[in-house]
Symmetry: C2
């Protein structure tokens, strides 16, 4: 960074993980972050001032109203956020700003009108965020253990359920996707983990990889369970998918499962510092094709393997790196999912997902849950 340049963010750290990463301070309303030569300043409302002083990992916490006051005295009746930013930047002699790609258009326009020169850079905005510290890996692992415990509790209920005609029954009634999701989500909340959009998708529902699933669970059909909570304490996510069948899988479903499982394991074996994500993804595509599983639209819907093999997990559930069609060279310290899937409405849906840490020689699998098809 040149002498007169600063990093500027204006966001709420509840939804903007870069801002939380930079400050370790969670606030539901937007605040100002300025970084010059590693010196971090945040500007907080009266409401957040004292909490920010106690909690934020920054060099300086300024009061928004104290900066606003002299602007009013100078005759500015209703100072805007950018007037306050301007006052801070003037004091620092800064005219050039480095902002995230997601920096808001309105603020960018207002800054330009005041003569600031804004640039951005390719993601990730904080390159070091992709490489997880041991503290971060510990946090992710803790969320992963909670994910496994909740998923296993759900699997146990499916295992104990009884088959009555074409429905599963449990605890005196029909066992539904909603009931299993509630078991998972409540168990996670008991462990201080917040789950949203948990997927429990049976049969054809699972063939749409983001269908959350609903209604009665059926015997002898694939049930895809994808669980990806965030820790309420550390804010780090985890992510795991298991596919099960209560009863017997058809030969075709069994073959589908074995193919995905083998591809997933081979994918994990290929993860290593320096390997291209594209290469791993392409190998899995090829394995599927060679096994006779084609990908593309058929009968008016996508079939086969039509999502990426993996994504980074950290303060966001989807973050760099990617193991997909996109270019990305894996680096030691990255945390990434490996989750190939195959989806054919006439057979069923299978996705198997583990979470791994890239190392110099391969990867460390953070996932402990067994992979069992038939319950």
């Amino acid at each position: 960074m040149s002498n007169d340049q600063a990093i500027l963010m204006i966001a709420n750290s509840e939804t903007d993980s870069n801002l939380y990463y930079a400050t370790k301070f969670l606030a539901p309303d937007p605040f100002i972050f300025i970084q010059t030569h590693g010196h971090k300043t945040i500007v907080m409302s009266d409401l957040e001032l004292d909490r920010a002083k106690a909690q934020a990992r920054v060099n300086e916490v300024l009061s928004y109203s104290k900066i606003e006051q002299p602007l009013k005295e100078k005759g500015l009746a209703d100072p805007k956020t950018i007037d306050v930013v301007d006052a801070c930047l003037k004091e620092r002699g800064v005219k050039r700003l480095l902002v995230p790609g997601e920096f808001g258009f309105r603020h960018a326009e207002a800054l330009r009108a005041k003569g600031y020169f804004l640039t951005t850079k390719p993601d990730p905005f904080f390159e070091e965020r992709v490489l997880k510290s041991s503290e971060e890996i510990e946090a992710i692992t803790e969320t992963q253990r909670a994910t496994e415990a909740a998923t296993e509790a759900a699997i146990e209920v499916i295992r104990e359920s009884k088959i009555k005609k074409d429905e599963l029954h449990w605890s005196g009634g029909v066992l539904t996707a909603e009931a299993i999701k509630k078991i998972i989500n409540v168990k996670l909340m008991e462990m201080d983990c917040i789950a949203q959009h948990t997927i429990v998708a049976c049969g054809i529902q699972g063939c749409d990889p983001h269908d959350e699933g609903s209604g009665p669970l059926r015997p002898n059909q694939s049930i895809v369970m994808d669980v990806f909570p965030r820790s309420g304490r550390t804010r780090y996510y985890a992510d795991m998918t298991r596919t099960v069948v209560k009863g017997r899988a058809s030969d075709a479903l069994r073959k589908l499962y074995d193919t995905v499982r083998r591809a997933q394991e081979e994918g994990i074996e290929r993860v290593r510092d320096g390997v291209e994500g594209q290469t791993i993804h392409q190998k899995i595509m090829t394995t599927f094709e060679q096994s006779g599983y084609e990908t593309g639209p058929k009968n008016g819907r996508m079939q086969g393997f039509f999502h990426g093999t993996g994504h980074g997990v950290g303060l966001d559930i989807h973050e760099p790196p990617r193991i997909s069609k996109a270019k990305w060279t894996l680096k030691a310290g990255e945390v990434v999912t490996v989750e190939p899937g195959l989806y054919y409405p006439e057979i069923g849906a299978v996705r198997i997902e583990d979470l791994v840490v890239v190392t110099k020689t391969g990867c460390t699998n953070l996932t402990r849950s067994p992979k069992v098809l038939e319950l």
Copy 2:
């Protein structure tokens, strides 16, 4: 909108409520939204295509990869999001774009480089979003009922707890803020509501209005409980705060409580279509001052009433309108909190919050929970 203008959003609807509002489609990764003359188009990845076709309330769902393919054939090796946007807009003959204030800087720059002219407008971006339909009020009310049930379960535990020296005891151990938060959050999850940052703040902790609280709960001290979950089903939030004391409140704390309670009730009485939010907020400030409760920094921290009186609640937990120093004329159909508070480390913290719908003649209070100080 002129003939060649379109609304453009590129965001994920999980965090961008305007995009969810416009499409009623939830997706964790960014997608493209284009609206021309009320005709809504979204452009989806292969992964989301079928689910979007089934769920999104839009006129047209396009395939990202189908738009990307001809660009590749024309020699663009790696088309970016904006190349795909450009292809869509060219087909529609659009050169002028209306974008939200939060529209990303990087995309804005890329569009400008292609000759597009971008403008924004003051918030709220969709003005009609502020005025809640009966369906939306029903959804908010449902979340409010869950909030009340969870808060009342927590209050019941505090009521049943025993005072042992300077701690509350329950179920064989010390009763902590964390335990009460878990009771609230788990109960909410059982009702399909997702709670984050629930506040259970005892004594001096409550004097920082966003301190979430931790450690043992104490007798004869204020306990502020602020609960604001989102429905996992409808996505609408609710918000409620109650302040209680297990044991006896000091005379000073009782007077603080009565003053806040009276101010809150008077605030609610003033809410009506056409009334200025500023006026209501200022009246409460004046009432507090006249009762001898000053606001400002004292002994190195903010004391008194140093937050707004109320904020809108809907698909975001903080959205327009505001009842605060900011200018806002209340309109029938708005849903807003009324939540004055007073915070003095030497006395305690009191905040009381209800959620109301503005009407032509006053407001309808959506909140049913009683207001009781001593348990």
